[in-house]
Symmetry: C2
């Protein structure tokens, strides 16, 4: 009995109105509950999530959204802990940390120890850490992360750190929701970097060589030069920003100010030349297009037999029996029947 | 009267059966007519195109498909002319050249002089040059190019060179339909390369520094080293192929064999480790998914008022009045009415 009572208390639901009020006051519990609604695939939760998002949207958009990527072992958690504390202590910021992990769509669980990884940051009053997002049904992890950003901003967080675990499409998706994309790297040539996927380096607005401490300081300096040379061969961004290379030691809290200066310089340039708003608008357009696409595909494939038909037709294309367009034309009428 | 008669003769239509027979015999006129059908957006043409494609599919797939990209001025036409002649004269190949230019979707015309650009190649019996594809309505240029590849292969061409004009999304689309992606570059650091879009270099299976002739030979050597170093910093491809750098002079027909060796080495490796077929299957799956998506969007937006509704809803998202998902949910019922 007591156990049941406890559970009931724990899962106490709040009305959308209560959650909106809580979020706008900066209440982290209300924020967490609202994010959970956004991640849910139940229709009822979705309706509430829409209501909350609509109320929060006018209060969003003022934060800087920083995507952080890098291979496992590069020290992402330590970096976010160190950088987050710097932002709170030295820059008087409120910092929210979101993690994007497409692989969690399968397990529906958060990475073990997501909160405990960032022990000091998670205890800070001005920090909010949301364990890895689960996908829900509505367009996956990227979708709910995008909505979480809005809610965090409405709750008054002015720096949003979006961590990717570097699996699957997560970097591309995170690039599409952040203002600045930071790639953490390790000193040393080639071999250590094999875990980074192709094309990621060219997405970055800044490279940061972490673990520039102890015996590693010289190697970090060499790596910095080497990447600066490599970046020089890349074509410039349309937004006129030249990606920078910094080194740091998250462990020893070194050069966090250099990284913040780089990010602030980027923001200043883009606000001046108009690309800041341009990038946000462009992201919004793509977000909308993707949402519509996910919604259509969700409706079409809600019927499991449609998925089976799709796979059968795909096999015809792969085996060279049908050209793709004819296969699509054959498949579509069956799919549409279910709408 | 005479004029009319002449026109009638010129535009003589052939039945799908005649075109299929012609293509399989290697008749370039039949091939051209069939490609035109694939590019058409008329339902009747589309039905004939499907019939021809279906008959040609079993005879396709044996060629090597090489994507060629590079900024304007890098000498793409001269390179293709030189490389194409090498393939015909020294490797006894039959060579088809297709060009992909998304910008032509608007003008519905081919780039002026597309054929005359490659004067010698276009006169060769064993070459077929198709001027820039126009988009038609069915999923754009990438779609009809994909179908043109099938038809060229059925007509017996065993090397397909797919040229991108380097505008918009064309490189990404061409990457998705070729076995080997070759990026032409110019000697000299940084500045000259500004026209290359970010992310393109990492797509390449091979970089070729063109115009390594005259006073430019030393600069080309330096550029080669420099790009080799840069590529070393990139993560390796999953297919185990390490992108190579070659230099050449298309003007003086120098090192065409080096380039062909590079491409052949790539094919050999990928055929051995299974990635050759894997890449083709993966491309087919994506091609099918894209075809279905285009078809759905085509049906949805065939009604112009739907496009207007879409733009209105998009504006709501960009201005921050609606979150993307709610906007999509609001829009979808209206779109579906037209189906």
């Amino acid at each position: 009995m007591q156990n049941k009572k406890f559970q009931k208390k724990k899962s106490k639901t709040s009305s959308p109105e209560e959650l909106i009020e809580g979020i706008l006051k900066g209440d982290k519990i209300a924020l967490s509950k609202a994010i959970t609604l956004c991640e849910s695939s139940r229709n009822q939760d979705r309706a509430q999530a829409n209501q909350i998002l609509k109320a929060c949207l006018p209060h969003s958009g003022k934060a800087i959204r920083i995507g952080i990527s890098g291979v496992p072992g590069v020290g992402k958690s330590t970096f976010i802990e160190s950088f987050g504390r710097y932002l709170i202590d030295k820059q008087q910021k409120k910092v929210a940390v979101l993690a994007v992990d497409p692989s969690s769509e399968k397990s529906k669980g958060s990475i073990l120890g997501d909160k405990t990884r960032m022990e000091q940051l998670s205890r800070a009053e001005k920090a909010y850490i949301r364990p890895t997002a689960t996908g829900g049904a509505l367009g996956g992890v990227a979708h709910s992360s995008r909505e979480s950003i809005i809610l965090c901003e409405a709750a008054g967080f002015d720096v949003i750190l979006i961590e990717t675990v570097g699996v699957g499409q997560s970097e591309t998706e995170v690039r599409q929701m952040c203002d600045f994309f930071l790639l953490l790297m390790l000193a040393g040539a080639g071999d250590e970097l094999q875990g980074i996927k192709r094309g990621i380096m060219e997405m970055a607005d800044g490279l940061v060589i972490n673990k520039a401490d102890g015996d590693n300081v010289d190697a970090a300096k060499r790596a910095k030069r080497s990447y600066q040379n490599a970046l020089h061969l890349f074509p410039p961004n349309a937004n006129q920003w030249s990606p920078q290379v910094e080194s740091c030691s998250a462990l020893e809290h070194k050069n966090m100010d250099g990284i913040w200066t780089m990010i602030s310089d980027h923001q200043k340039l883009l606000e001046e030349n108009g690309y800041w708003q341009e990038q946000r608008k462009d992201q919004d357009r793509k977000w909308f297009a993707r949402s519509l696409r996910s919604l259509i595909e969700m409706r079409l494939f809600a019927d499991k037999s449609n998925e089976k038909l799709y796979k059968e037709m795909e096999a015809e294309v792969v085996s060279g029996k049908l050209a793709a367009f004819e296969a699509a034309e054959k498949l579509l009428p069956s799919l549409l029947k279910s709408l």
